[in-house]
Subunit: 345 residues, 2 copies
DNA sequence: TTGAAAGCGCTAACAA
DNA sequence: TTGTTAGCGCTTTCAA
């Protein structure tokens, strides 16, 4: 695993200093953009750096500064399903982009189901990073304990279930999103509205459902047409069939994820019914699947990008010793053809 | 950015040694599983480690071993489109999972368009990693130069355009995949077959097209119905409209990505034609979009998982000083409803 | 089998 | 403004 496969030794600060005719300390100052260096010396060092192709050794620097220069995106106990989720991919990308300006590197720490998160825990405790962004919808006591004990700055994306060791979090307003969906359907004249919810032990699952409930009751409508699914396309389709069987008069459904919503649309069509003519459908996430679907899917926007930039922002603040308060982001409804006759596709 | 926010100093090897009543060297040997340590001493050290909650400091270790304990997944000059691509997300996940057993950490290094890849280059040169997996369909001279000069073990995912500094690569057989698609359509009795290709300055774009061409000619069919798109859904739909305008007798299309293929299907349907009855469609990638589409999409499987595990395998081998030869993986056709009446969905 | 000691490359007091 | 010096926490000779 040696990096020095027969090559010349990489130039050190010592080499640079020697070549520039200054001390190592001065060379270090130039490299770290310390102001109190005579212009001439500065020039000399910069030249030497360029000529030698010098790059500071991160390990050496980390050792003395006690900063790793990286943050970890932690996904504990991750199932395959989580990863293939476009939400997760987008989040990861947005986080990385948000850090592109800084010198901070992004480390991807994914646990495997079963294995617990021993590897991640070890890494966090070993001082491998300066901070962590935890992405999970489960309780991850071990990770939380490690974060607490190491006092590592950390933020949670998505409201953690049981306190999350007091970590600040960024989340979208799932409850308001669910209400938004219901209100939209009601405003379109629908009355017999069902919902396919996510797992109730996950915050997005529970919150989207309760938002829907609140709006339904506020409008004096029944909130009995509830089916619980698991966010997978299969489960979404299956629950849609149940809903169709349960209620002949059904004229709309709010489905807690786009993926499930697309599957639901297929089932409605397979039953010989039209979307949105007979049954209107609202999804959740505004993922690619929503615009690719036919009819295109009205959905609640999941502000992934803002989620990521806010999380990064909070983490950087925390890393500078400042306070960070949890943030809940607004959601918006994206109107498309699955609830609206006037939209073409 | 200090990690030691008022907390107790993390225990060092020195502390462990003191507590166990041995020297630092012995403690180090135990931690690194060196065999020549007396069982009693071993026990004492292990106990001390447990009691103190000792974790080795990575920076200190790296400094002396000259190993970073991490590999970088490098995505230079990445546009937004690349990231949202499910292929990339799956690849990243598979790479991380493939490394879950090892102690190696995964570092995500994404460049931004325009900015070049100065940050990445700097990092690679700074000894921040022990190896790199480069994911790109462009020429990235700077990165290649950095990799060459640092002699950093590296592999390319996807055949690099212009040599890629002699990096070994893993790729799927895009050419064979294109041929597979054409042959399948021909075997289903289609004769007037068009194609919507990807950009010709990208290997997957060019190779899938040439495979299609080869199979068409081999069957004595005309290969004139070619439209070049850019892998985006919009471009796919637009090129499909052109194809429909160009050739009334069109009875099949091979589209170089699922995303474009789904858009193409929508256009065909919008023109009042049936898939697969009038026009059969084959996509490429076997992404989620393919199974979500109605009719479900026959497509060429992109073996993302094998791509990732093979790349990781090659890299680890390289890091141990062994040789690694480029690998081209086979592809398979996944039959679904867009080319086959007997498939239900 | 063990310990003493040297140093990996860097930053940061402290003095000059 | 500069240089000297002392470590950061660890691995690894080299002797014992």
């Amino acid at each position: 695993m040696s990096r020095e496969t027969g090559g010349r030794r990489a130039p050190t600060l010592e080499d640079v200093a020697a070549r520039a005719g200054v001390s190592r300390a001065t060379a270090s100052r130039v490299v770290n953009e310390d102001l109190r260096v005579r212009p001439a010396a500065r020039e000399a060092v910069l030249d030497a750096v360029a000529e030698l192709g010098y790059r500071p050794n991160r390990a050496a620097r980390s050792l003395v500064t006690r900063e790793a220069g990286s943050i970890a995106v932690v996904v504990p106990e991750a199932e395959d399903r989580v990863f293939r989720d476009p939400f997760f991919a987008s989040l990861l990308v947005s986080i990385t982009q948000a850090l592109a300006d800084s010198t901070v590197q992004v480390l991807l720490a994914m646990g495997r189901p079963g294995d617990g998160c021993r590897k991640i825990e070890k890494y966090l405790r070993g001082g491998g990073t300066d901070g962590a962004i935890v992405v999970s919808h489960h309780q991850d006591e071990e990770i939380w304990r490690a974060l607490r004990e190491t006092r590592l700055p950390a933020v949670h994306v998505g409201r953690p279930q049981a306190g999350g060791a007091g970590l600040p979090y960024v989340d979208m307003d799932n409850e308001a999103g669910g209400a938004l969906a219901a209100e939209h359907l009601i405003s379109r004249g629908r009355r017999r509205i069902g919902t396919i919810a996510g797992p109730q032990d996950m915050a997005p699952g529970a919150d989207r459902l309760s938002g829907w409930r609140r709006a339904m009751r506020a409008a004096g409508l029944a909130d009995d047409l509830v089916e619980i699914a698991d966010f997978s396309a299969e489960s979404g389709g299956e629950r849609m069939r149940r809903l169709l069987r349960r209620e002949k008069g059904l004229d709309a459904v709010f489905v807690a994820s786009d993926l499930m919503a697309v599957a639901a649309i297929h089932e409605i069509q397979a039953a010989g019914l039209q979307v949105p003519e007979q049954i209107a459908v609202v999804g959740f996430d505004d993922s690619q699947a929503a615009s690719l679907s036919r009819p295109s899917l009205t959905t609640v926007r999941n502000p992934v990008d803002s989620l990521a930039t806010t999380a990064v922002d909070m983490l950087l603040r925390l890393m500078q010793g400042e306070e960070a308060k949890s943030v809940v982001l607004d959601t918006q409804l994206v109107r498309r053809a699955s609830t609206d006759f006037s939209v073409l596709k």
